[in-house]
Symmetry: C2
Subunit: 212 residues, 2 copies
């Protein structure tokens, strides 16, 4: 939308400022943002305080990011240089489990967990943040998931009737529900139970039910 704040958001790449001094500033600001967010919480985080602690003028922040939410999004994503990459041992259930373990271990507990939760909260009030988060994190992750599942389906490890377009929603939904709604911890045991339930399915069991 705006051309004024191109340097970071919408750019995909991190830390690509022209001059090393500018990049230094940018990184210092983001580092301070995460620091302060952990100390006082996202709600009480103020750009004024970030500027003060980072030793920069407020303009220097406002020149780079259009809002506190955008700054926070960039700061948080800058931690995630290495995306989650799917293992492929040939066993889809095991690979999914490992993959989700990794995601849950990073995003579901301190120090990143609470920050990620706050970011998702902010995304509910700020459509630009929501769109950016989707573009830079959620969608790429979804695509990797679907790709891995397609391969498994072709190998007969998944029901050919299973709607892959729903896969990301169904695999991620329960995790996000637990974090954002019921606010309970994301344990490996929970992941196991979720995957068991999803593989079992809700339909009456084949040997018992009405299936012909």
């Amino acid at each position: 939308m705006s051309t004024r704040h191109v340097p970071f958001h919408y750019s995909g790449g991190m830390t690509d400022h022209r001059t090393p001094r500018a990049a230094e500033r940018t990184e210092a600001i983001m580092r301070t943002t995460l620091e302060l967010a952990q100390e006082v919480g996202y709600t009480k985080l103020s750009i004024e305080a970030v500027a003060a602690r980072a030793g920069v003028g407020k303009h220097t922040i406002y020149r780079r990011w259009p809002s506190k939410g955008a700054l926070f999004l960039d700061s948080l994503l800058s931690l995630n240089e290495t995306d989650f990459d799917y293992p492929d041992t040939g066993d889809i259930a095991a690979d999914l489990r490992e993959q989700i373990y990794a995601a849950v271990d990073l995003l579901g507990q301190p120090p990143v967990g609470p920050l990620y939760q706050a970011l998702l909260g902010e995304a509910q009030h700020n459509p630009a943040v929501a769109a950016d988060l989707n573009e830079r994190f959620i969608t790429p992750q979804a695509e990797k998931t679907v790709a891995r599942l397609e391969k498994a389906r072709d190998q007969g490890q998944l029901s050919p009737d299973f709607d892959l377009g729903m896969a990301m929603d169904i695999l991620s939904g329960p995790l996000y529900f637990r974090v954002l709604i019921t606010h309970q911890p994301l344990t490996h045991d929970y992941v196991d139970r979720m995957l068991d339930a999803l593989f079992t399915g809700m339909g009456p069991s084949p040997e018992t039910g009405a299936g012909m």
Copy 2:
């Protein structure tokens, strides 16, 4: 926690103030809150503006609610006098579908949808709101869902292996994921696809797979 703000929150019941005049005030404040939230959005909603439009002093609001979030929660829940009640036609798949249609039609689109979304965003920053929302809305709904599913399982309409403790997360998760993360509309078609996927399950289909 606090005893100062008993009248509403934590009380379950709505509008039970001692005197009719106080109840009038309370309802006027909540009505105005929803009005303003629809007009300017939850973020820009201010207690100052609510007080002004409702024609009450700010004290009158602060005496009743400890925060903007708590006020908003009460205001929104006051619309939901009639809980969702599960139909029971004997067909669990059909009943679930109807139930979820109703929920989605109310909570997934204007006028309530955006307000509910904002409330969930606020809940990420305000633990008291999150707890209250769970206690007064999410948990009761989950209990109804599980009760209906237990009956269906006993009638052989659900796989006896299906983990009912996961039912709410698995049925609701994808819907919340779609609203809070990918921010796409909740259509009946989406509900249908979700239920199909959940009943199908991810495991290899019985007739094809490795099951004996």
